[in-house]
Amino acid sequence: MSTETPAWMADIDSAALTALGAIEAAATLATLREAEVGALGRKGNVTALMKRIGKLDKSERKAFGAAAGGLRGKVTRAVSARREAIVQAAIAAELADTTFDETLPGLDGAPGHVHPLSRVQQELEDVFISMGFSVLDYPEVESEFDNFEALNIPGWHPARDMQDTFWLEGGHLLRTHTSAGQVRAMHQFKPPFRAVFPGKVYRYESTDASHDHTFHQLEGLMIGRHVSVGHLLDSMRTLLSAIFKRDVQVRLRPGYFPFVEPGFELDISCQVCDQKGCSVCKQSGWVELLPCGLVHPNVLRAGGLDPDEWQGWAFGLGLSRLVMMRYGVNDIRLLMGGDARFVEGFHPGT
């Protein structure tokens, strides 16, 4: 038994010095990891030291084991302590950093834009759906019959003149109103039914800020056993209140449209001044909004319905005009001008 220091003690001290020195010197988690691997990894110096135990005398093994194990524990604790220190220092440094520029522009992810015509159309469709109206879609190139005769518009009617209609070679035409879908709807559904059909319509006329040769309408049609002017009044007030999201008053004036009888111009209470009188309503409190009326029996006949059995009301709402009213668009030609900047001026989304 000797009390002198064993030879391996120096090696342990040296290994401790190397390992702990590297750990203390580590300034980042990466260098700390290197130091850790350098000590405790498969080829680490502490690991190498531990392997020497097999070559020692049995008498020495216990002492060596205790010393080496102690070293490993010491190194492990040093790594933990160092890691914690590095992490805390990094957190402190980040929190102390004053160079972060929160004013740089946002990146990516900006949504695109749906056209206001589509948005308003969809919004209206949803209002009508909520009130039990079906939504339909009909052709834009139509037959003369569907666009005119079926709607009780005979050949002598001024609306039939060449100057109002785009004709195709061969006799078809571009529908001049969504009303062209009325007889289609009557054949598509078993009465009673109620439906709207929005879409593009065309007029052969020169354009200015308030007229375009192509614009959008939304037709409404209700067919039932008994449909009266009183019903029309109630339906229009309810529907328009839902569309304008507020209580709307309506009034009917005589208006002549061959496919309705009686036919009306419908005025709504001025949304700008609440009927107090303003320039928009020319001080009258009323603004002309849409034509409507009770479906003419000839139209019911063309739709395959017996006028003694079925009655109806119909209206035609100017979608383009509604978009212009709602968003203050002062030139209708902007709607179909194809300029992305116009569309992007509206809120994104549908």
């Binding site: 834009h113 192509t214 209700m222 019903h231 009917l252 002549y256 395959g304 300029d339």
Partner: protein, 904 residues
């Protein structure tokens, strides 16, 4: 059309009615009033003066001094009017008065002579635009000094009625028709027009023959002699002025006054100018000419109707008289024409010759031939008043089909309860007595027992206006006042509304492209711009390839509207160019210089000759009317006026063209630096835009719950890749903008859906801005036809997958998806129950000369649903995949073998 309240008040007692307040009731019950105009207001300070002496102005040749009697005093004023004469009565404006024209009359001097006031013209008083001479107050008996509004019925309230709102009401084109409405609304009687005291001769004025029966249904004619042509009295002149008609002379003014009153236009010939003793109403002969009253020579066509004497035309029927028979200063005998011409024929001629006159505008409304007689009588009465020496010297000749076979009165059978129910009123709200009164006020006659009614329509409403019970509903409703009808919720069937799948699809597509891809929706015209197509080279390219037929318009307003678009992308490309030209958007958008547009719309594709019987083709007719019995039943139910046109339209209807719903996408990027026409796009930009377009289509299919789309080049341009189905009306295989080397067909579930392509380099070189653009055009209906991918709630796999990458050196011409397919097929079934998924990850292209300088990296994911994968499993799969590339001609020789040997 103007309504004169003064005139109305001569025919109805309007005591106690404020015309301005009444205007609203009129609008709600009769016709839309555009404006209520006050005529002759603000003139109460103007007085009647009589010129008693005229002396020269000492300092000016063109001015004179007029001594005027103002009743209580005399003044001398300076006057420049050449027509000044002693004894004439004129309006005098005292100094300090501001006239409606804005002029303030001063107490001043004119060339050194004091002039305290002024003698006024009609224009000075704001009564007309006519500045010629002083306003002569002839026919005004009021003492001098009387305020002008008292002396003559100067002040009037005029309703300017929107002409469009009375096109269907021929009776409202005369004041008497308007007065009847006012009488009905006020519940006061309408006074009859005065046609008393007229004595006609025994002999007809002329012989009249009508050969153009279709054009002229009635022709009345008489003659007056002893006429002295002179200006009409001031009251008549003002009345014409107020209604927008220029006074000419007493005879012409009488024709106009009678027209304004009754609505039926009249014409007066100078009797001595009519050659021979016969008038013939006939169709014009090709090449015939007539100088009309406005001095223009009109070249006539056989569709026109003319009035001719022995030597030729003397009037263009219903539109304007001829210069050769004009009433002139020396006229003493007048031949009056009061006729009823066919509205459609008059409209046709007036439109063809560009002559819309007060007369043609009225005839176009299809006037009641009965009114012509009333107009003739009122004319005679007025001439006798305006021209006291005149005498009627002939009988009132009355000819035409209307006289030979007068039409039967229109009688409508209905019931009181029906009329009430359509308005939504009950018998308490709308009593029998009220109904009787309203109808009779409008000149409808009622018969019938109890609830049943037979209503006879007055002739002036019977033409094309009132013919069915629904028309009577309107008559009652508007007199009752629609604002007094209580609104009532309709009883409706509780059924879920139908929303077509196409609508839901369009909504989802917008969502996917706008929200998901950040694209901007545009709505473009259906017409194709030919100028753009030419400039962008699309015309040349389509001619060189295969020009697909498009629908052509028979009439168009500009070169932008000659054809309907067969593809959406042409217009979208044009819009893209415009947007790119708008310049640098880097600051605005998140995508830098890239602009992304999309459009959902219909395209228009003509039916091929063999497609007209295609089951999907729209016949353009209501289905019930394609059956001949049903069609006849329908036609029999129509009025004569409609039946003829409906028969023709039904007969001539051809099936409609294809109108497929399309989606088009354009992704464009402005290229910096290059010059227009010389720029070639960097391949990286082209690849990125193309891949963004592909990604948009993939997103779209995902959003629409359709299987993932497949992208394949056409084997040769115009040829569908093997196995794809394409229906008529779908996207063309070779649109002009198609880049023949950089495009793909889009297929979903074996169906052709559309195309994605970069623009043809020729098109790119011709754009007005250096740019690269990728286009997508696809058929929404075809996509809708593909069965949706079913959704299933599957439990997620319990065991993690195992993945490795494989980087394959290959030739640049290899298609990544082909290689991916080879690998995926090789991995399939290598290990029982293990699925192998291969995805392309990235590529590296060496620009050098190595033929295998492209490296494609794939990620291989293997998954065993029942357990973990062993290292052996992975090695097996890896070997199988590499094995599949051993003999691949586009993969570097020996590479796969080497990988198997050394790295597995």
């Amino acid at each position: 059309m103007f309504v004169s309240w003064n005139w109305i008040s001569e025919l109805v007692d309007t005591t106690g009615v404020d015309p301005k307040a009444f205007a609203e009731r009129f609008t709600l019950s009769v016709a839309e009033i555009e404006e209520v105009v006050e005529f002759g207001a603000g003139l109460s300070a103007v007085v009647v003066a009589e010129v008693v002496k005229i002396s020269p102005h000492p300092n000016a040749d063109k001015l004179r001094l007029a001594d005027c009697d103002l009743g209580d005093r005399q003044v001398q004023v300076v006057c420049g009017a050449p027509d000044l004469k002693v004894g004439m009565r004129v309006p005098f404006v005292p100094p300090g008065v501001t006239l409606p024209s804005g002029i303030t009359v001063r107490h001043g001097e004119v060339r050194g002579v004091p002039s305290p006031g002024m003698l006024a013209s009609e224009a000075d008083l704001g009564l007309s635009e006519d500045h010629d001479g002083l306003m002569e107050l002839d026919g005004c008996d009021a003492p001098t000094g009387t305020p002008l509004p008292t002396a003559i019925a100067l002040h009037d309230v005029l309703y300017e009625v929107d002409n469009k709102s009375i096109t269907h009401r021929p009776d409202l084109w005369g004041q008497v028709g308007m007065a009847r409405e006012v009488a009905a609304l006020l519940n006061r009687p309408l006074k009859p027009l005065d046609i008393t005291g007229l004595t006609f001769g025994d002999t007809p004025p002329l012989d009249v023959a009508i050969s153009a029966h279709g054009h002229c249904r009635r022709y009345l004619c008489t003659r007056l002699d002893g006429v002295t042509i002179a200006p009409s009295p001031v009251a008549a002149r003002l009345r014409l002025r107020s209604l927008g008609v220029r006074p000419i002379n007493n005879i012409v003014d009488a024709t106009n006054l009678a027209m304004l009153e009754t609505g039926n236009p009249l014409h007066a010939f100078d009797a001595s100018s009519v050659r021979g003793d016969q008038l013939i109403i006939r169709q014009a002969v090709e090449g015939e000419q007539l100088e009309t009253l406005d001095g223009e020579t009109r070249h006539l066509a056989p569709t026109d109707c003319v009035i001719t004497d022995e030597q030729g035309p003397v009037a263009l029927a219903g539109i304007m008289g001829g210069a050769n028979s004009e009433i002139v200063a020396t006229t003493t005998g007048v031949v009056l024409e009061a006729a009823s011409f066919d509205g459609a024929a008059i409209r046709k001629t007036a439109t063809r010759l560009g002559m819309r006159t007060d007369s043609s505008a009225r005839f176009e409304k299809h006037l009641d031939p009965e009114t012509a007689r009333l107009a003739a009588l009122r004319f005679c009465k007025m001439v006798l008043e305006l021209c006291p020496d005149a005498q009627i010297t002939a009988s009132l000749l009355d000819k035409g089909a209307h006289i030979d076979s007068p039409p039967a009165p229109v009688a409508i059978s209905t019931s009181r309860s029906y009329l009430r129910s359509r308005l939504g009123l009950n018998a308490e709200q709308l009593s029998d007595a009220w109904m009787d009164r309203a109808f009779s006020a409008l000149a409808f006659e009622l018969r019938g027992e109890g609830d049943e009614l037979v209503v006879t329509v007055p002739s002036f409403r019977a033409g094309r206006d009132v013919g069915i019970a629904e028309d009577l509903v309107e008559e009652l409703g508007r007199v009752f006042g629609y604002d007094h009808i209580p609104s009532e919720a309709p009883q409706v069937a509780a059924r879920p509304p139908y929303l077509p799948p196409s609508k839901l699809q369009e909504r989802a597509a917008r969502q996917a492209l706008a929200q998901g891809r950040g694209l901007t929706e545009v709505v473009l015209y259906s017409f194709e711009s030919e100028p753009f197509r030419k400039r962008a080279g699309l015309v040349e390219l389509s001619a060189a390839g295969h020009a697909e037929p498009r629908l052509r318009l028979a009439n168009h307003l500009s070169a932008d509207q000659t054809h309907l678009r067969r593809l959406l992308c042409n217009n979208l490309l044009s819009a893209m160019e415009d947007n790119l030209l708008q310049g640098n958007r880097a600051a605005e958008g998140h995508k830098g210089l890239t602009i992304g547009l999309f459009e959902l719309s219909r395209a228009f594709v003509p039916l091929a000759s063999n497609e007209s019987a295609h089951p999907a083709a729209d016949p353009g007719l209501p289905p019930a009317l394609t059956d001949s019995t049903a069609r006849q039943g329908y036609l029999d139910g129509l009025s004569d006026a409609l039946r003829e046109g409906a028969t023709a339209a039904l007969k001539s209807t051809a099936p409609l063209p294809w109108q497929p719903r399309r989606l088009a996408i354009a992704l464009g990027e402005r290229l910096g630096g290059g010059q227009q026409g010389l720029v070639s796009a960097p391949k990286a930009v082209s690849v990125r835009l193309f891949r963004e377009a592909v990604g948009a289509v993939e997103d779209l299919c995902r959003q629409l719950q359709r299987p993932a789309p497949q992208f394949k080049r056409q084997p040769s341009v115009g040829q569908l890749p093997d196995g794809l189905i394409r229906h008529p009306g779908q996207v063309d295989l070779r649109p002009a903008w198609l880049h023949t080397a950089r495009h793909a067909t889009i297929a979903v579930d074996g169906r052709f859906i559309g195309l994605v392509s970069l623009i043809h380099p020729e098109v790119r070189s011709r754009l007005g801005v250096p740019a690269e653009v990728a286009l997508v055009e696809l058929d929404l209906d075809a996509l809708l036809d593909v069965t949706a991918v079913p959704e299933q709630g599957e439990a997620p796999p319990k065991f993690p997958p195992s993945a490795f990458d494989l980087t394959v050196p290959c030739q640049p011409s290899v298609r990544a998806d082909d290689l991916r397919g080879v690998l995926a097929a090789a991995g399939d079934g290598v290990v029982d129950g293990v699925s192998v998924d291969v995805q392309w990850v990235s590529e590296y292209a060496d620009e050098g000369t190595d033929a295998f300088g492209r490296a494609l990296t794939f990620n291989v994911t293997s998954r065993n649903p029942d357990g973990s994968l062993t290292d052996d499993n992975i090695t097996q799969i890896r070997r199988a995949l590499l094995g599949s590339l051993l003999d691949h001609s586009q993969v570097r020789d020996g590479w796969a073998q080497d990988m198997i040997t050394h790295h597995s």
